[in-house]
Amino acid sequence: MTDISPRTSEHTFGQKMFDLSRSLRSLPIVPIFILVFLLILPAVTADLIAPHDPIRGRIPDRLAPPVFFGGSWEYPLGTDRLGRDVLSRIMHGAKVSLSVSIVGIIFGGVLGTVLGLVAGYFRGWADAIIMRLVDITMALPSILLALVLAVSVGPSFQTVIIVVTFVLWALYARQVRGEVLSIRERDFVARARVSGASHLRIIFRHILPNAANTIIVLATLQVGSVILLEAGLSFLGVGIPKPTPAWGLMVADGRQLIVSAWWIAFFPGLAITLTVLALNLLGDWMRDKLDPKMKDL
């Protein structure tokens, strides 16, 4: 035994792990796209492909179990208390849940990013005002705001979007401001200023692209919590109005029967989990693709 041999084997092991991690990093993209496709396809085409009416059920068929648990192919994922097909409701619910989270995240994200850029770049009184608004927003319980809104304008899709936007913008503003504070001190920003770039140009061309990673990762990570927020609002009766299928609402409905008819809550819950997982993986993949330093790996 020489003193070199253990190191050599360690090296090859490390090399193997590196190769493994590299192939793992490039591997998930196909399944991710399949998963995302499987989510978006039913959401867009629910009216065409859903086997049953998502709102009107057949009472005689109520609480039918899923197909491999004693049920039939008529209701592959079983039915709920009112005999509504769980599969059809998940398909229609995808439309509602995905559009609430995507629209809410876009509104909240754009608003928060712009305010965060302004606060971080210009500092001074703009920063002070925006950051105090962020503090106020974060201190205010979102459920309370939702209740106030629902009482004054009535529960609706728009109400949920407003609440989601209101909750999210502060997170973006704070995160983006922090990023901007560090990016604006880097020399390439000074260089841009020295070569006559305007504030707008510096913000959108030099600072925003360097903060984009953070924003994208934040956005994909939030889909899950937005769906859960929507569920919470619906559960309290101030979210999406009741007969409309929405994943959160379905989980809330199935909660009471979780012991006897687990499928009512389980499958929408599974849909939420898979969506969050798929979008997180997609976010990770996009972050790697957007970072020029990762291109050579």
Binding site: D187, S198, R201, K293
Partner: protein, 336 residues
């Protein structure tokens, strides 16, 4: 030779104040100099002597809101820039006067290719089609001797070495053919061989284009190599100014003498290197008289109370210094 040509940039009695917790300080206090096309002025001084703030003042980019240019005049190519509008200033920055920063590692935006960054800088000042811009960018990279610029435009900053990045920064600064280039210690982050190459490159470009360079450094070796004129700054003021040869062979101000004494020499075998005793004065606690007086070996009672005027050398080579010691010599009091 070129002494007859009018200066391209002329700075008179420039004063920049910075508000601090200890009250306002004059970071730049009555600095005057001028540079002719094709000439290089070196501004030397220790850290905190006001070199960098002077450079930023020339671009009107002093850190807001704490710092402010309070008086003086900067005439660039016949135009007073202290009163120019902000929009006009953006045209001037990068158009007529450019700057190279110290650290090439962070001077380039990591998420864009080299090409797009050179193009961006040119496009800010020149209207041209995308294809023309690309050609001009490749031309600019060729001029700073980036090998294979056609392929290099596709590269990201992290794919280049420090020296190459600093060349790209140079290409960006020179892309729209400015008349004045401010180089704020552009070679301190590079190793010596690369440093020498870079200085030669700047010199060559200067001979080609008649660029005026303001070279900020604390390295006398670089000054000797690069500069025609030197201004020595101490505590916000220029204490001595003149042709590089006179400054090196016949320094008039005790501070310049002391600085030159602190440079190790190759020829002599010195046991212990000279160092100036004490520390530069704090800006909020400036001596009433000469600012170098507390550290000066030749200080007289007068130095404590009154700031010395500027004396000009009788040789007629525009060699000036502010020191009371010169009062009793053939040097004559001058306005600047």
């Amino acid at each position: 030779m070129m002494a007859q040509e009018a200066p391209i940039i002329e700075v008179r009695e420039l004063e920049t104040r910075i508000d601090t917790k200890m009250g306002p300080i004059k970071a730049v206090d009555g600095v005057s100099f001028s540079v002719r096309p094709g000439q290089t002025l070196g501004i030397v001084g220790e850290s905190g002597s006001g070199k960098s703030i002077t450079a930023l003042s020339l671009l009107r980019l002093v850190p807001k809101p704490a710092a402010k240019i309070t008086s003086g005049s900067i005439i660039l190519d016949g135009e007073e820039i202290l009163t120019a509008s902000e929009a006009r200033m953006r045209e001037i920055r990068g158009g007529k006067i450019s700057m190279i920063l110290q650290d090439p590692q962070t001077s380039l935006n990591p998420v864009f290719t080299i090409g797009s960054q050179v193009i961006e800088a040119i496009a800010t000042h020149v209207k041209a089609s995308p294809l023309e811009l690309l050609e001009r960018a490749i031309e600019a990279l060729k001029r700073v001797r980036v090998a294979d610029p056609k392929r290099r435009v596709e590269d990201y900053p992290h794919q280049m070495s420090g020296g190459m990045k600093q060349r790209v920064v140079g290409a960006i600064a020179l892309g729209s053919n400015p008349k004045v280039l401010i180089a704020d210690e552009p070679t301190t982050a590079l190793d010596v061989t690369i440093q020498a190459q870079y200085l030669k490159l700047l010199k060559d470009i200067q001979t080609e284009t008649g660029l005026a360079i303001i070279f900020i450094t604390h390295d006398f070796g670089v000054v000797a190599r690069m500069c025609d004129q030197v201004a020595v700054m101490y505590a916000g003021r220029v204490v001595e100014q003149g042709p590089v040869r006179q400054i090196f062979s016949d320094p008039a101000h005790p501070y310049t003498k002391a600085l030159l004494n602190s440079v190790p020499s190759v020829e002599e075998d010195v046991k212990r290197l000279y160092s100036i005793r004490g520390q530069p004065p704090a800006f909020w606690d400036m001596p009433a008289g000469c600012r170098f007086e507390p550290r000066c070996d030749k200080a007289m009672p007068k130095c404590k109370t009154e700031y010395p005027p500027i004396y000009e050398s009788p040789d007629g080579d525009h060699h000036c210094a502010s020191c009371w010691e010169l009062e009793s010599t053939e040097w004559t009091q001058s306005r600047y």
